[in-house]
Symmetry: C2
Subunit: 278 residues, 2 copies
Amino acid sequence: MLGKLLPETNGPEGRLMEAIRYSTLGGGKRIRPFLTLNTAALFEVDSESAERTAAAIEMVHCYSLIHDDLPAMDDDDLRRGRETTHIKFDEATAILAGDALQALAFEIISSDKTHQDASIRIELVDALAKAAGLKGMVGGQMLDLVAHEHNFDVNEVARLQRMKTGALIDVSCLAGCILGKASEHARHMLHGYAHDLGLAFQIADDLLDYEGDEETVGKKTGKDQAQGKATFVTMLGAEGAREQAKALSAQAVEHLAIYEKKADPLRDLSNFVVERLS
Amino acid sequence: MLGKLLPETNGPEGRLMEAIRYSTLGGGKRIRPFLTLNTAALFEVDSESAERTAAAIEMVHCYSLIHDDLPAMDDDDLRRGRETTHIKFDEATAILAGDALQALAFEIISSDKTHQDASIRIELVDALAKAAGLKGMVGGQMLDLVAHEHNFDVNEVARLQRMKTGALIDVSCLAGCILGKASEHARHMLHGYAHDLGLAFQIADDLLDYEGDEETVGKKTGKDQAQGKATFVTMLGAEGAREQAKALSAQAVEHLAIYEKKADPLRDLSNFVVERLS
């Protein structure tokens, strides 16, 4: 679906589309679309609605990775085992590819192909814009950049991660709820699931950066340590972080108790996050 | 209105908000909000609706300036007579400020404070996302970056400018039409106005870069020439460009014939664009 939603261009601006295709179709774990599709499935949402929404959220995620990898930001050359977008192309193209992907995400959601009801579409736009913006993903990235100037405690690191990665994970589940006109209670439970999953996922990521090798992880490891970055591992120790991730993963699954077998893919994902760690 | 719509933040991420305020509240000609407000006025749109929409479009414009000025793009140190955002702050903050502004624009439009009717709001989101994206502003910026590799003729330069600056000028008028539920005919006429105005404006800009001095223009001049860039001035000569701008300005005004005095601010703007040139 993601590939189909990327427009064709033939003019001299084709380089931009190449960079967009390179950065969005180059693999990755696809956790956010997985969440949207499987949350939507709980409420029997039409598959085209779910797939378009999932693709839009993944585009926002991909744009954030392109910009995060830039020399002025995290300065990463490697991502998912391949050159990052600004290395493969150039910095200007990478900046514009990210900018275009953000606009494209909102364009896709606003189309009536995503949902016939304009009030559902605008609720999706609102949720995604908030998750992507100042109080969400971009604000969290800013916090991450200034973290070394402050002495963040574990709560502040948790807040940073809730913004930087948690907000988009949360909206991935929320989007399924919006499309499915889910009850307040259902939204609340899936918000709880997303919150715990997001944190477990981040702790696992920190652990992989700390313990994993570059080839398995697909990106440079040991960077956090080298930069003296405050992470869950530096705060809690490797063993403490591992325990915390497991507890959060179990807690995430508990939020799904009201759903029977239909929620199994969401349960499996939560288990997968911590299985990587043992 | 723009200042009121910028959220307060107190945490360590406050630097991001400072950069956003710096880049959006630092003056500028405010042509796009002027167009939205005065187009909306033709259709007696509620002022809060018009102001919020105008602010959102201006935020997209401001984000594009921040990113365009980056070292990897046009590498400008000066804008509106002040340091550009990445000079005043740093590159990472400038990239994130632009990213956050784009998200904020869509957040503002999606709020029911902008319009009570969700279908109007989603039409605005759709129009703005298209104008800002691949086939509009960002695509045009990409064309601009690769222009030196191609031998653009005057039609290709016009296409580049229609995308890079024309699309956002066009949507500024279209947004007023959407809010005012304007007829197809009215939209068509205002599209014609915006198209001619946008091109006249760009030619005037090229002339100011060619002939103006840095102090009056508020940014570095003579850059196009120094970079050997294809502009309307290099294509048509200074005198030809001046004539073309005047013809377009007059033609823009003709599209407003069906509106009486209410369209005078739009007429004045079109005249102002070329009055600067004589």
